[in-house]
Symmetry: C2
């Protein structure tokens, strides 16, 4: 990408009503645009970052047998009436709307009901099970307050997977498999070291649910963390009985603020009962399908990463999700020509700062603000030795790298 | 993909209330699921097909300088009040909803207003222009009737590009460039031969707008086509004056039914006036930005292709958009082993029909119903000669192909 040709420029200011530090940075860096509180557009750099996060999640969901589909936001009421969740008193985050042809529709904030109903068309025998179906889908939640930037919004991207199993045993095996998969995902996203499986309230069908909580000063949750064991307990279930149950020693627990980046629930027969999703077992007996749900909000994760890893100079993206890997600045005419060649070789890896009206100091500041993992400076001085200068976003030291080594890195990808 | 492991099975029936032939086929083939009239989920095969269509469009939009972003469905009212389009009397397809925090929001059915407002943050000088910004975004339209399957729905995928130019001259050059790009797109999508640039009503800033109309028996438009010149006139502007203006000879025109698959409009100052989007020109003079809009509905295009190319056996997908290229059926144990190997080599190119409980006749029928471009049959008989049988979906003849040639095709991709 050439900076001279991109419309979304960096700015020194963010909207006055923006409370979230990460959102201020994302706006200033030209990653997002604020439509209103809790409603943000994704500009080209923001979209690429979000897409990269989604792609990591997609690969790991496919690896455990997930099948991707895409359901609708518009929700007819019947399936939700069957489960008892149509009423605003039961689900207070509904956006409802009227159909010109008559009747009321909701905007999906989750998809248990419609997917359970859909599966009635495809699941009838034990041979059809298990099914693991997931989607990346825009959810709508009518939040009363929205002050956390893209960490909590009224319209957001969600990965929701739902498992349909023959019985609890089959369900539990997949539940653990997905928990392992979530660990891989958060490792790849660069927050693995500070993200912990956290025991939280369960429901009618399980003692606990599992949250994945990332240590974060602006997080909305309090967790009690056993660093040695790498697990935590959410404040909501933090009591002596639970600690004894989990074999945790109170004196070893740290109280931390954390942001929830993923969750998995045992749903049991909650929705298959309501919507009558059954199968015939090996003996021809009719059985209810056993369900689970597994969520990660990619846009929320992006906000948590921006919040956690940024420094006083700007954003800091882990390599796997950065919109581009290299930010290239050329000093001098010959350097500019070479930079242009490098960009043309690998436009998907390079942001070329070819702005004519920006000083070098501004370019270096923007390289930091944008959070691109490596800054490359090409100048006549470095070219005299056939080298380029490379600096990691997270380090202050610069190094000289042979130009041919840098070209090899670009081709490698 | 292995058929034994996919939940979305083929069925003999479609919902009784489904009127559209293409939607019936798409439902029976397991590509889509009907939530209600005009609201369809995309199942794994349908999603892949839609993604392929979007990728073709994306590549061509990027090639003419498009910058991809993603705006929100939720729309605060102010920008729309500025343009006079907030009222349901002016735009009768609005879905409106109430915000719990107070106030009313709309669900975007198009994005001129919010994007024009967004650009006020980034466009201030002639150096910032032109800008070509586009998105793939879910639109909502509160249609009174929805009987055309995925060709006209209440929630659908839209590619909308908006151009921001310094003046009419710069605008017109891009307008023609985009029209050429649309031709390439429809060629790649396999409907180029039957898709024609069609003159339709313009607005305050242009005599005509341009539609891209695909000949289609269930299309909602009537066009008058000059096949020799490859252009057409929409019924709405079909009169002697227009024909003279366009240099068309009435006697050479065919009256045809057609479905609109794309459109481009000169918007002029309609929205930049309302929202005050200006720039300073080379002489420091304040000027209004000149706009255009360029739409293609990928889900609608998918419906038109399903409608147009299908035959009595099922769907027929052009190679570039088919969810998979080969449908592999194995007959015999050794053949099954080899088929499994081939699938593992190229799971992105092959549907392996490994169902144990399906007869060969059913498998062949499903290969046709799914519309996969090539059917490959591997049997002990063909293997005796180290060959596989290959049949194009659009031909009845089968041919023998050396197994090594087929493997080379898979590796090539």
């Amino acid at each position: 990408m050439k900076l001279s040709q991109t419309f979304a420029k960096t700015t020194k200011t963010a909207p006055a009503d923006e409370m979230s530090e990460s959102a201020k940075l994302l706006i200033r860096a030209g990653y997002i645009y604020k439509e209103m509180a809790g409603v943000y557009d994704y500009l080209p750099l923001g979209m690429r970052t979000l897409d990269n996060i989604m792609q990591v999640i997609r690969e790991e969901m496919d690896a455990i047998g997930g099948q991707e589909l895409k359901m609708t936001a518009l929700q007819p009421r019947d399936a939700w009436e069957a489960s008892g969740r149509w009423s605003d008193d039961v689900m207070d985050v509904w956006f409802k709307t009227k159909l010109n042809a008559g009747g009321e529709l909701g905007l999906g904030c989750t998809h248990e009901e419609p997917l359970t109903r859909l599966m009635k068309s495809y699941i009838s025998s034990y041979k059809d099970l298990p099914v693991y179906a997931y989607q990346f889908q825009t959810k709508f939640r009518n939040e009363l307050r929205a002050k956390s930037g893209i960490m909590r919004t009224r319209e957001f991207m969600m990965k929701d997977l739902y498992s349909f199993s023959k019985n609890r045993e089959e369900h539990e095996a997949f539940y653990e498999k997905c928990a392992e998969s979530y660990k891989k995902i958060f490792n790849r996203l660069g927050i693995g070291n500070d993200t912990f499986r956290t025991f939280a309230s369960g429901g009618a069908f399980s003692k606990y649910s599992d949250e994945f909580q990332t240590l974060c000063e602006v997080g909305e949750d309090i967790i009690y963390l056993d660093r040695e064991k790498g697990i935590a307990v959410n404040e909501e279930v933090y009591n002596d009985e639970v600690l004894a149950d989990l074999g945790l020693d109170k004196s070893k627990l740290e109280q931390c603020k954390a942001a929830e980046v993923g969750n998995i629930f045992t749903l049991g027969y909650r929705f298959t009962d309501a919507l009558d999703l059954c199968y015939n077992d090996e003996n021809g007996q009719r059985q209810k399908v056993f369900m689970g749900s597994y969520g990660i909000g990619p846009s929320r994760v992006m906000g948590v990463i921006a919040e956690k890893l940024s420094d006083d100079k700007g954003l800091v993206w882990p390599e796997e999700i950065a919109p581009y890997k290299y930010y290239v600045v050329a000093i001098g005419d010959k350097a500019a020509e070479i930079a242009e060649d490098l960009h043309n070789k690998a436009p998907e890896q390079i942001i070329l700062d070819d702005r004519k009206n920006a000083r070098n100091g501004e370019k270096f500041a923007d390289a930091d603000l944008l959070g691109i993992p490596y800054r490359i400076v090409i100048s006549d001085k470095t070219l005299a030795e056939d080298k380029v200068e490379i600096k990691k976003r997270t380090e202050s030291e610069t190094k000289l790298l042979p130009l041919s080594d840098f070209i090899a890195k670009l081709v490698q990808k």
